[in-house]
Every structure is written in structure tokens, then in C-alpha cells.
Point group: C2
Chain length 329, copies 2
């Protein structure tokens, strides 16, 4: 179909693969291909979509309506998103919260230069969780926000454990504390410390002969990553790790606990939660429907950098306004 939205991906890790799979669930979009820094011949895609070298990206720009950037937030996206925002409508999942304003400005300038639309920081947090925080704040201006993450695998914390000497492999789970969730849901609006909100659980494969007591101590005392939390460390075999901890589940909760009434006497509670068997596949699914929105926003003249806060929700859908009103309103 010539009116399909033509989508390409830059980067072929977990997110890029997730986009490839999500595209198959969205027949109004066509997958142009994967662009990679690797030798295309060495990249085998899940569904046989073509692979190109990143150097071919600019010369193919007229064949691409939206470029989804699937690199990492640490070093890839801060460079790639502004770079390509001049030439393509882009979507990224930049998730370094503290640097979002700076990333937004960099993408905005470049997108405006090229009259393109750059939708940044979509996924679930930032992304859907941010949207729920915004909605909660707008509806209940008097209230408190709570965001809990997990139970799920934190890639950053797993990496931190793997960098410890004597650790052969590791997976780290972030777990919300049930009592904290219960207190929030009761409407008491507690002030919760970092330690009271989440615990951390590590499954570690120690190298042969490594000192497990030292590893456990290094994990539990690691500043920022583990020291502010109650952390449990389990030593297991590589076989157990591969068998029981190979998934990348995640999820979490956004709660707005607010009040209305003459003197704030009425409690009102909004809760949004995700339970995801695959964090990257869900994030990719968000990226894909956002690609649809970006194509339409650009057609209608909404150029520059945008976030999920700027997207009319209907633009995420392939259905017409009339269809949506009939089926979902």
C-alpha cells in the first residue's frame, strides 16, 4: 500500500528487534529496514527485513517517513537524535531524565532547521508513566505523586554487579515494597524514603574460587546503586541463571493520591500499572505507535521537538476519529 507509513530503525539491539516485531502488528506501516553500524551481512534479522549500513541512511531519506532510533541513552541518542532530526522525523526513547531538557533543545533546533518532527523520550518511563503523572496532576492538583518500578530487571544495576571482580554473570531485580504500595493506596500520603519504596535482589554467578562474602559486601555497599536499598544477594550457577533469569520483565505503578471537596475532605485515587513480560518489546510497541503519530504531526505542520505531552492521543491510532469515538469513547 502506497499510503503506508514507511518506518526505518537505527540500531539493532533489543529495542530494534522489538520494533521489528511490533511492526508486524501494525499493517498501516511498512518496514523499510534496519540500519546498523555493523556490517549488514553480519546482522540477521528476526523476520528477514533488509539490513543496511548506517552510511546509507541519508541517501535513502526520501524512502523513510519516520526513523526510530534504537540506540542507548548514554552515548548513542545524545548524538544520533539531534544529528538525524534535521533529515528525518524521528522517535527516540531517551531515558536519562535529568538530561531531557537539554536533549529536547538539541533535537528541537535541528528538527526546526529541517522542518521535521522529533518525538523524544517515549517508552514507558519516560513515556506512558510520564503521561499518567501529567494527567493525575491536571485532574487532581492537590495531591501527591508516587512512582514505583518493578518487579523487573534493571539493566544498569545488573551491569554494575557484573563489573565487580569475581562476578561471572548477574541479574538484578528492582522490587516495590508491598507495604509501601499498601500505604499509598490507603490514601495516607506517606513520605517514603528510597529504602522504604524499593528493595533490590541480585542473582549472581561467582567465578570459580571467587570470594562470595567480598562480592556480596561490594554489592550491598555500592553507593547510589545499592547502598540506599535493602539488597538481597543469591549466588547461583550459570545454568540456573540462564534457566530462571533470562527474561527481561519489568513494570511498575504510577499513583496520584489526591483530594477534592470544600476542604480537601474527599480522597480520590488514580493508579496506573504495567506488568510486562518483556520490557524492550513493550517499549518498542510504544515507539511504533508514536512513529504513526509523528508522521501525522509532521504532515500537519507540527515541527520541532515534541514529547508524549504534545501528542493528541488519536494520532497514535490508525483509526479515524469517528471510528475511535464509536468504538472506544
Amino acid at each position: 500500500m502506497s499510503d503506508q507509513i514507511k518506518v526505518a530503525v537505527l540500531g539493532y539491539g533489543n529495542l530494534g528487534r522489538g520494533v521489528e516485531l511490533a511492526m508486524k502488528q501494525n499493517p498501516d506501516m511498512a518496514f523499510v529496514g534496519v540500519f546498523s553500524r555493523r556490517d549488514p551481512a553480519s546482522v540477521k534479522t528476526l523476520t528477514g527485513v533488509p539490513v543496511y549500513h548506517v552510511d546509507q541512511l541519508l541517501e535513502m531519506k526520501d524512502e523513510i517517513d519516520v526513523l526510530i532510533l534504537c540506540g542507548g541513552s548514554a552515548t548513542d541518542l545524545p548524538v544520533q537524535s539531534p544529528e538525524y532530526a534535521k533529515y528525518f522525523n524521528i522517535v527516540d526513547s531517551f531515558d536519562n531524565h535529568a538530561n531531557i531538557p537539554q536533549h529536547f533543545d538539541a533535537c528541537d533546533a535541528r528538527a526546526l532547521e529541517g522542518k521535521k518532527t522529533a518525538l523524544i523520550s517515549v517508552g514507558w518511563d519516560p513515556g506512558m508513566f510520564s503521561l499518567q503523572r501529567l494527567l493525575g496532576n491536571c485532574i487532581l492538583p492537590e495531591g501527591v505523586d508516587y512512582t514505583f518500578w518493578g518487579k523487573g530487571v534493571s539493566q544498569g544495576h545488573s551491569d554494575a554487579v557484573r563489573r565487580i571482580e569475581g562476578v561471572q554473570d548477574a541479574k538484578q531485580y528492582t522490587i516495590p515494597v508491598p507495604e509501601a504500595l499498601d500505604r499509598v493506596r490507603s490514601g495516607e500520603n506517606p513520605e517514603l524514603t528510597t529504602r522504604e519504596k524499593h528493595t533490590r535482589e541480585c542473582f549472581v554467578v561467582a567465578a570459580p574460587g571467587a570470594d562470595q562474602a567480598r562480592i556480596e559486601n561490594e554489592i550491598k555497599t555500592m553507593p547510589n546503586y545499592f547502598e540506599p536499598y535493602d539488597t538481597t544477594v543469591h549466588f547461583i550457577s550459570q545454568e540456573e541463571l540462564d534457566r530462571d533469569h533470562s527474561g527481561i520483565p519489568h513494570g511498575g505503578f504510577v499513583i496520584r493520591s489526591g483530594v477534592t471537596g470544600k476542604a480537601g475532605e474527599t480522597k480520590q485515587m488514580i493508579e496506573y500499572s504495567l506488568k510486562l513480560e518483556s520490557n524492550p518489546e513493550f517499549t518498542s510497541s510504544v515507539l511504533v505507535c508514536c512513529a504513526r503519530a509523528v508522521a501525522r504531526m509532521n504532515r500537519e505542520g507540527f515541527i520541532g521537538a515534541k514529547t508524549i505531552f504534545d501528542v493528541p492521543p488519536a494520532y497514535l491510532s490508525p483509526k479515524s476519529g469517528a471510528e475511535l469515538r464509536k468504538a472506544l469513547l
Copy 2:
């Protein structure tokens, strides 16, 4: 402040009172007053805002940026929303799902005539629940939608019970079936009948000497309202009803249970829930932030009828884009 958004209300029942209270939580908006069909001298407002007769509405139109229509969906809004959409930016909570397309078209034509913006059917269902259904469908195109209501008071069902001969007063609660919620949350995607999803519980004050067995039977066999459900009827005194059942709580759950992956092997679950001590106060809070969005949409040239699907979420907030990105993204 001269740049405050000037809001007026038509109708002063539970919703109108809720808007009056919500306005106090939103200092970027100014409350022009309540317009009523009753004699203004007979209407006492909660916070002392002025009351005008509805006949004065048109002559005050230049003093009003947004008119929030707080009438009922059965007879008031089908007439009032199109009527006033030509002269005012309006927000309504029209909640007769089946008639939304027709109501939209009627408001659209009139709003376009007057170059105004008419945001219809906002509140929580339709409204926030609709938005969550839309988001769930866009992110997870392969999936099933579930909406549960309650535990909460259904005004329509309470009224139906009160119309039965021998009933002096009554309150009806709609209650989601916990086992059904559990099955949905487990990801099994069950097909649920009406009876399996919700139960109904009635608290009835029988008139002195009334035949309670007959009343109970009439309730339980009432077509559409109660017959498709398992219904429990409790006879209590007026004192008990007034003491224990005077609130108007409500709430519910929107769940999108979907799959991703190569062959749909990955389960992904999105759940949104509301737990509201006051249904009308929450609905009014939604109406008020929507009034803010309508004022901005109209300033920017987005005229005609709109729904929550068309509103860029940031427009619901008094904060700037940069503030929102920094604080909530």
C-alpha cells in the same frame, strides 16, 4: 489576573457544585458564575460565587472563555451542548455512549458556525477510561479490552429501584466480581458474561407495610437493569441509609491484556484504576482541566467538536512545556 481563563457553569447540581469546588484548586482560572434555570435568589452556592439566570447567559458571553455544561445526559445536554456550542467554547460530560457520534456531529456543526471549540464527553467514563482504552489499543494492537465499574453507586440503578411501588428510598452499588478481575489480570483473556463481570447490591428502605418479598422480586427480575446480574437486596431503615450510604463513591478498572513477540508469546498487561470517594467531584475535576485545554485549543484555531482523544495532554496543564518536561517527564 486578567489572563485567567474565565469559566462559567450551566446547571447547579452535583456536577456544578463539583466544578465550583475544583475551580478553587486551579488559580489560573476565574469563576464567572453559575447559570441556572431556577430563580437565582433561590440558589445558594457553596463558596459564594454569583448566580445568574440562564436567560442572562448570552448577554454575558464576552465575559466567559469556557462554559461548562453540568446538566444531565438524558435531556439537558442533547439540547444545551449544540445550542451553546455556537456562542461559547464548551465542555460537557455527555455519557450516553451509544449516542456520542450523533451528539458529536450536532455540536461540531454549531461550534464550527461560531468558530468555537466544543469538548464533549469528558469525565471518567467516557473520558479518562476512554483515553486509557485508546492508549492500550494503540500500544498493544493484539489484545483484549476489559472495563469494570465499581465498587460504586449507580445513580440510574438507584433511581430504577426507587421507582418501584413501596420503595421509600434506595441506593444501588455496582461491584466488580473479584474472580473475574483476577482471571483478567492473570492474562488468560477470558470471555466474560455480564453476570460474571459485575454484581449489584441494593440497600432499600421499604415504605411502612410494603411487601418486601415483592419488592425484592421486582428488583431482581427488572430487565436490563438487574435481571442479567446476580443482585443482592438488603432492607434497611432510612436512618441506616442516610448514615451509611449517603456518599457517591465510584471507580473502576480499564485493563488492556495484550501480547507482543514473534508469535504473541509475550504477555503485556496495562491496568488503570480509579478509587473515588466522590464520583461527581472527580468528574468535575476532569471538566475543569478540560476547560483549560479548550480555551487554549480555541486560541490556537482548533475549532469544532473534540473529544479527549484530540487534546494534547499538555493543554490540560497550567504549566509550560519546559516545566512539564522537567518535572513530570
